[in-house]
């Protein structure tokens, strides 16, 4: 059974006179340890799809089953707990807690999970070492570069030992060197921790590295290909 099963998913916005079908009958199965990019032009529905996979948005129709849990059947607070224990998030703008150090940002997720202090410290050390920031763990986000902040965000996303990581345009705010470095890191973590990564992106560098590329257009899946080396984004 797939880690993520998306069946006949619809998301319709009725904010205008004409309903907007942001996601239109998407069916998609994502297996464990996949390194998948969801691509497509702006407005194609990739962020909406990722938001629904992350339990942040409610589908209009269809269902999402993650590791045998149907998200539609979870209450709002249960979804929060589900996200905490099953999903890691990486955001385009890093979105670290500005008043915490790199290490505290990583630890914070584990604190929410009520993990013991010793485990929190050991895991945050391990993850920050894995992302190459063992020397900057006591720095606050404002003292780190964009690439370094996104690395902390990656460590934070993995801190909860999630089933998968959702990354929304993770390289969009990074220069090319930082972006390549981040992708190297995520590939390595994907292999090391067998963590599933799902990206929304229209960055060619990400698309080239993805082992599976799902292309959306007008809310529908246009292509779904394995091991694609070059896929045109926008």
């Amino acid at each position: 059974m797939a880690l993520i099963e998306i069946n006949s998913l619809h998301k319709t916005y009725n904010t205008t006179a004409v309903p907007v079908h942001a996601v239109n009958n998407v069916t998609l199965h994502i297996e464990k340890e996949e390194f998948t990019a969801v691509v497509g032009p702006s407005g194609s529905g990739k962020t909406t799809l990722l938001n629904m996979i992350g339990g942040l948005d409610q589908p209009s129709e269809g269902e999402i089953i993650i590791d045998n849990t149907n998200l539609n059947k979870l209450s709002t607070s249960a979804k929060v707990d589900f996200r905490l224990h099953n999903i890691g998030f990486i955001f385009q703008a890093y979105n670290l807690i500005p008043v915490f150090t790199a290490r505290e940002n990583v630890e914070f997720i584990m604190l929410l999970q009520k993990r013991p202090k010793k485990e929190r410290e050991e895991r945050s050390n391990e993850l920050l070492k894995a992302v190459g920031l063992q020397d900057r763990m006591h720095n606050r986000p404002s003292q780190l570069s964009g690439g370094q902040q996104q690395r902390v965000a990656v460590a934070r996303a993995l801190a909860s030992r999630p089933n998968f990581v959702l990354a929304d345009e993770p390289t969009a705010n990074l220069d090319s060197v930082s972006a390549e470095s981040l992708l190297d890191l995520m590939e390595q973590l994907n292999r090391t921790y067998q963590t599933t990564f799902i990206f929304s992106t229209h960055d060619d560098r990400v698309i080239k590295r993805a082992r599976r590329v799902v292309t959306l257009r007008d809310g529908k899946i246009d292509y779904d290909k394995q091991n694609v080396q070059t896929v045109s984004g926008e």
Partner: protein, 404 residues
């Protein structure tokens, strides 16, 4: 870590946090100062009026206050007076025989209030001797009189002159006496200055034919809070034989004036509280609104809303506490100074006070409850503003917040 998160969050924007804490800080100082001034003045008004006129408590015949007649006087043994004086919290007392009489000299006659008193007791209670501006103070065996300065002027008399007292004594007997003037006193109010005549109690009892009777036993206590206790003890000692009148029964105008002034003071305080509430609320609103996206992110990554509410509530508590504690600390020396250096009114303002028979002094209270009460109220107001973040977070949709 939540406490740490809250503490660091409030210092993200130091200036804003300091402004919010400062508004609470000044609010506590202002509220404590206002309240201290009011309560201090009320206490002083009550104390000075009680000291000068009635005492905090009076032992009387049950009909005396209504009739004001010597026929409603009482016999009180010295042993009972001494026993009452020995009660805890009783600081002084003065057995008195009070009546009204015509006082004449030559062709001038005035209606005066005549008080027969035991000079040592009266001195202990009212410091009457200190008001002497000419002549000598009375002794218990004196057969002469002390008169107010104003009355002396009206009658055109001075030391060594004699006045004639003419009035009604006990059970309709005529009270008449020729009294040499032994001293002239200056009372704090014109109305008293123009009307008071003091005699030694035995002499007054002899003139008014009351023998060993007195009309009242005014009593001072160390603190108005102990009045009820002393009242109960005296009632028990006297087997409920006498009426016990408290200052507010004997000085109802003073009580009403205090109530009216207190009400206006409370209205001022409420206005102050409202201004504070809006100031703190505005700051909290800004602190929260600009972090909507961050809240959205935290909820997205798995932070329950209630945990976020705890963090924001702790933030508000920390800001409010910082302001409240520093406000209390700063207000203590300010109020302490005014407590020991009360404001003395001069000019026109003094007339208003004198009309109420109150010395024109604005005193400040150091009652600890003033500091804690104001601190507590301001803290509650500040905490009430924490409701906004709670509602904000409750309504927050993480997806909308993350989108910005």
């Amino acid at each position: 870590m939540y406490l740490s998160l809250s503490w660091r969050n409030i210092w993200r924007n130091k200036r804003r946090t300091l402004i919010a804490a400062a508004s609470v800080f000044f609010a506590v100082i202002l509220a404590a100062l206002m309240r201290s001034g009011q309560e201090g003045s009320y206490s002083y008004m009550i104390h000075s009026s009680a000291k000068l006129f009635t005492g905090y408590l009076q032992v009387q015949h049950e009909d005396y206050w209504e009739k004001r007649s010597l026929n409603k006087s009482i016999v009180m043994k010295d042993s009972l007076v001494q026993a009452i004086q020995a009660l805890p919290h009783v600081t002084s007392l003065s057995p008195r025989l009070e009546s009204y009489a015509l006082i004449s000299h030559g062709s001038e006659t005035r209606v005066s209030q005549v008080i027969g008193m035991q000079p040592e007791y009266e001195q202990a209670m009212t410091n009457l001797k200190d008001k002497l501006i000419a002549g000598r103070y009375l002794t218990s065996g004196s057969e002469s009189a002390l008169i107010g300065e104003g009355l002396a002027d009206l009658l055109h008399v001075g030391l060594g002159d004699s006045i004639v007292l003419y009035g009604q004594g006990f059970q309709g007997l005529i009270a008449a006496a020729k009294l040499p003037i032994q001293g002239i006193i200056k009372m704090p109010f014109e109305s008293m200055n123009n009307a008071m005549v003091y005699l030694a109690l035995p002499n007054a009892q002899d003139i008014f034919a009351t023998y060993d009777r007195i009309t009242s036993l005014p009593i001072m206590v160390d603190n108005i809070r102990h009045l009820a206790t002393v009242d109960q003890q005296i009632a028990s000692m006297t087997h409920h034989k006498y009426a016990l009148k408290s200052w507010d029964e004997m000085l109802p105008e003073l009580k009403q004036n205090i109530q009216v002034d207190n009400a206006s003071g409370i209205i001022m305080l409420i206005i102050l509280y409202i201004v504070i509430a809006f100031g703190v609320f505005g700051t909290v609103m800004m602190m929260i609104s600009e972090r909507a996206r961050e809240f959205g992110i935290l909820i997205s990554v798995g932070m329950r809303k209630w945990r976020l509410m705890v963090v924001t509530t702790i933030e508000t508590i920390l800001v409010a506490f910082t302001g409240v504690i520093s406000g209390v600390i700063a207000s203590i020396p300010i109020i302490y100074y005014f407590h020991h250096h009360p404001i003395h009114f001069t000019g026109e303002a003094t007339h208003t006070f004198e009309q109420l028979n109150i010395e024109p002094i604005f005193n400040f209270s150091m009652n600890p409850s003033i500091f804690w009460d104001q601190a507590f109220i301001v803290l509650i107001i500040a905490l009430a503003t924490a409701v906004y973040p709670l509602l904000f977070i409750r309504r927050l949709k993480p997806i909308d917040a993350v989108r910005g």
